[in-house]
């Protein structure tokens, strides 16, 4: 059986010769995907299916005076109309409820108010126009610093600031003020020979997954509910449904479909409750598929920010003091990523004296969601330019300056925790040794910049089961949604433990009725945390099979061992059984063997993955257009379970970072209208915009994982904007204080316009 939780120790295995980990097999599901057979969210179809559409607010801030749905209800082909009144009274947390279907107020353009289920999406859309909503329009507040002012329009009359001092007495748009202090910042700045201070603003950016959100709900005659949805986490969706529908969790089955990108944005649930309400009222299954404009207006973005950074260093190159103020837009409801921004901003460095203040601020824009290393990219864009400037003022090479000051094992972070073993210095040394760092730039108007970033692993909770089949193959189930090949990496760890080839392991993502609670696939946790569950399940299988061999041979179980090739006993060297041979005898020796792994990885000491990026860019001085010519991303991944997949994560993360750095953003008018709700105007990078990104994998094993795995998926986006900004400084002599660094902004900084 599996080890009781309190006895589970971090394990560092003796080095063994790995047979599966470190190889590059094709990913599960790849063949289905190239054939067009993989079932994504909108591909779900059921008999008698109806189609749902959502009525959304045209105003950024307004009181809802009345909602009259009678005309829409009478429209031919309409089967159900729902509003917030259809949510069970008192069910769910107020903000969660209001963001699903607005109650008294709408707080952003695109805020859901009502929904319609009809015979076709077109009929549902036509009927939306028949819903009569009366508004009292209120002035919106759209900028984080304006929202923090005492006279700013208030989004929530009940919201009062939480801080270390408790909760404030009067309402505010500031939901939380958090603070980390280490050492004596004033004293530290007094010791500094050079002090640099700058302020930065960044725009909200959308995750830009190509698959819009889609959810299909079916109620069964016994009152239970099945929901098929494209999500990063089926269990959190189940919890959300349970809370807002006031339904026991066991009566809800959430089936995660294939997911067409999420990047954090599909860790939130938007249309699942709406689909369920419509389906219940209509008495038929309902599918709700969002349009791209709905995705851009009402889901996901990562916060816009204002960040002020001040750092001081001595002449000998040591950073002695730092302070940062981070103001993050949460969107319409509290819960921005300012916490992880504050946690990450100085994470790469050993700074004796520092203070970080973070503010979580509501504004009249959509509720923000996670986006790949949430909160870290703006923070690192800011701090890496200040670090670069310090190095320049001190006349030290920027890589050497980072090496002088980088965090090491035992360094206490400003946010409190000391680091376990993390390859900060190893990454910097690998970058310095890489030919890119010393290569000639090869032309005018070109510059090279570097930036250093870090993202911590969240391990989370995961379940995995492994069933042994009579032919020696195994069936693996996990609750972790397969984002970009994570399932393959999980199964590879199980195969390694079991001594099997990967083709003997068939892994699948289970629905919430078929496996235990598993957190979202997010936070760089899946290959790490669910990998731990897979390893535990595999070890459970081996323990049970050792007992079967012992029974067959009539020897004590302690004498039976498995070296990932054969089961043997020290009692009788002639007894040998392969995994396959023993699997064939399970039926006759006690029945099926099923191993389980159910882990809470957060009891382990927390590591993470640092990355150092080198960017060469070219600036067209006439138009301000920036082209990324060459890009190298060095990262400590602990151990690359599937190196091809890790490289894919790095290439994809850098591509997103380039878009964020140079042109992506959600731009709002003064009235709170999203000005670019299409992919024409909200430009994502194309094949013409991204150079060949060279990933450099550094492997400093994480001591808490048996194979040394670190989460690798998020770090690759963190340093990109900072590296490009530092490269642009080399060309323009100007620091870039705003994201995105559009041609117009670059020309403005150069004084051209």
């Amino acid at each position: 059986m599996s080890t009781p939780r309190d006895e589970r120790k971090p394990v560092t295995d003796e080095p063994v010769s790995l047979r599966v980990i470190g190889t590059r097999p094709p990913l599960y599901g790849a063949v289905d995907k190239v054939l067009g057979r993989a079932v994504f969210g909108a591909d779900v179809s059921l008999p008698e299916l109806l189609h749902g559409k959502v009525l959304r607010s045209p105003h950024a801030h307004a009181r809802i005076l009345s909602v009259d749905t009678r005309r829409a209800e009478g429209y031919p082909g309409v089967h159900a109309v729902v509003t917030a009144r259809d949510l069970p009274e008192g069910a769910g947390e107020q903000f969660e409820r209001d963001n699903t279907l607005a109650g008294d107020k709408v707080l952003y353009v695109g805020h859901p108010i009502a929904a319609i289920a009809a015979e076709s999406p077109h009929i549902a859309e036509e009927a939306l126009a028949l819903i009569d909503v009366q508004y009292e329009v209120l002035p919106p507040v759209l900028d984080v610093r304006r929202a923090m002012q005492a006279d700013a329009p208030l989004l929530h009359e009940t919201l009062r600031t939480w801080s270390l001092a408790g909760q404030a007495a009067s309402p505010s748009n500031v939901a939380e003020h958090l603070q980390h202090v280490k050492g004596d910042p004033e004293q530290g700045f007094a010791e500094a020979d050079v002090i640099v201070e700058r302020s930065f603003t960044t725009t909200m950016v959308h995750q830009g997954y190509i698959e819009p959100h889609a959810s299909t709900a079916l109620w069964h005659p016994d009152g239970s509910l099945t929901v098929w949805t494209c999500t990063q986490g089926a269990f959190p969706v189940r919890e959300h449904l349970s809370s807002l529908l006031d339904l026991p969790m066991a009566r809800i089955r959430v089936v995660p479909t294939e997911i067409g990108g999420g990047f954090g944005g599909k860790a939130s649930s938007y249309v699942d409750v709406v689909a369920a309400l419509l389906a219940r009222k209509a008495g038929r299954p309902v599918k709700v598929v969002m349009g791209r404009d709905e995705v851009l207006k009402a889901t996901g973005p990562t916060p816009g920010t204002f960040i002020r950074v001040r750092m001081g260093a001595r002449r000998d190159g040591r950073i002695v003091a730092a302070e940062a103020e981070l103001c993050y837009e949460a969107g319409a409801y509290p819960g921005s990523s300012v916490g992880s921004g504050a946690d990450t901003i100085f994470a790469c460095y050993d700074i004796p004296n520092a203070r970080v203040d973070g503010y979580d601020v509501v504004v009249n824009k959509p509720k923000t969601s996670s986006y790949r290393a949430p909160g870290a990219t703006p923070a690192v864009f800011a701090v890496e330019q200040v670090v670069d400037e310090l190095a320049e003022r001190l006349g030290i090479d920027p890589l050497d300056f980072r090496l002088l000051n980088c965090a090491r094992e035992g360094t206490r972070r400003v946010s409190g925790q000391p680091y376990p073993r993390v390859g900060f210095a190893e990454v910097l040394q690998a970058a310095k040794a890489h030919p890119h760092y010393s290569a000639p730039l090869g032309g005018p108007n070109r510059g090279r910049g570097i930036a250093f970033g870090y993202w911590g692993n969240w391990a989370g909770q995961s379940c995995c089961t492994i069933s042994v089949n009579a032919d020696g193959t195994v069936s693996l189930l996990t609750g972790s949604v397969d984002v970009s090949g994570a399932l393959t990496g999980i199964a590879m760890q199980a195969a390694e433990e079991l001594g099997l080839e990967l083709r003997q392991v068939q892994a699948r993502v289970a629905d919430t009725a078929s496996i235990g609670y598993t957190d979202v696939s997010a936070g760089s946790r899946t290959t790490f945390g669910t990998g731990l569950a897979a390893i535990e399940a595999a070890r459970d299988v081996i323990a049970q099979m050792r007992a079967r061999a012992a029974r067959l041979w009539g020897v004590p179980v302690e004498t039976v061992s498995y070296d990932r090739v054969v089961f043997t006993t020290s009692v009788d060297p002639t007894k040998r059984l392969s995994f396959r041979e023993l699997a064939a005898q399970l039926s006759a020796t006690g029945g099926p063997v099923m191993g389980r792994g159910n882990v809470d990885g957060d009891v382990l000491r927390r590591g993470g993955a640092p990355g150092l990026h080198i960017a060469d860019v070219e600036l067209d001085p006439e138009t301000g257009k920036v082209t990324v010519l060459r890009y190298t991303a060095v990262q400590d991944v602990g151990r690359a379970v599937h190196p091809g997949n890790v490289e894919g994560q790095i290439k994809g993360g850098v591509a997103q970072g380039i878009g964020w750095a140079l042109y992506e953003g959600c731009f709002y008018g003064e009235d709170g209208q999203l000005l670019n709700p299409t992919l024409l105007d909200n430009k994502l990078p194309t094949a013409m915009d991204i150079p060949v990104v060279e990933p450099v994998i550094v492997e400093v094993p994480d001591p808490v994982h048996p194979y040394g795995v670190r989460g690798a998926g998020e770090t690759p986006i963190v340093p990109v904007a900072g590296a490009i900004a530092n490269a642009l400084y080399r060309i323009t002599g100007r620091r870039m204080e705003r994201l995105p660094m559009t041609p117009a902004y670059v020309l403005e900084r150069m004084g051209v316009i």
Partner: protein
């Protein structure tokens, strides 16, 4: 059936006849009427390329074509790429080069690449990148897709040579 139009076309080599509303896009007809859900919707305004199909040999965004417009025409979707001998060389190359991660843009990307290779069996990297610039991918950073198309082109030229010699 009021207001619906009868459409006859050849889809993936098969004769097909269906009824659709004049306002339904080809994308909706493929997915919702014909059950060909391999073609994906990403934006429905022609900016992401996820719904790319071939119409009479020409690469189109099926969200920007009305279903009634294909009457008498020929459409190729991702479901029509693989042949009796197995995967199309582009499909195989996408797997071999890990040119897909989430896989949502993949059907459109495959069709766009096929349209290019049908015209130019030996395209330069620059031409591949230009040709695929109408198909957004958010996962890969594109370079493996470019490598996969180059590799598939090589395989297809080699196969063509073998056929020519045989």
């Amino acid at each position: 059936m009021d207001g619906k139009v009868r459409v006859q076309a050849t889809i993936n080599g098969q004769p097909v006849e269906f009824l659709c509303e004049p306002r339904q896009s080809l994308l909706e007809c493929l997915r919702d009427i014909l059950g060909l859900t391999g073609t994906k919707e990403g934006c429905s305004d022609g900016n992401c390329g996820a719904c790319s199909v071939l119409l009479n040999g020409r690469l189109v965004n099926s969200c920007l074509v009305l279903g009634v417009e294909i009457d008498g025409g020929e459409v190729t979707t991702v479901e029509g790429l693989a042949g009796p001998d197995g995967l199309h060389p582009l499909q195989q190359a996408f797997i071999d080069h890990a040119a897909l991660q989430c896989g949502y843009c993949t059907p459109g990307m495959l069709l766009a690449a096929k349209a290019l290779l049908d015209r130019d069996p030996d395209p330069s990297e620059e031409r591949i990148r230009q040709w695929l610039a109408g198909n957004l991918c958010r996962c890969t950073g594109y370079d493996r897709i470019v490598r996969a198309v180059q590799d598939a082109a090589r395989r297809m030229r080699r196969d063509a040579d073998v056929h020519a010699e045989g």
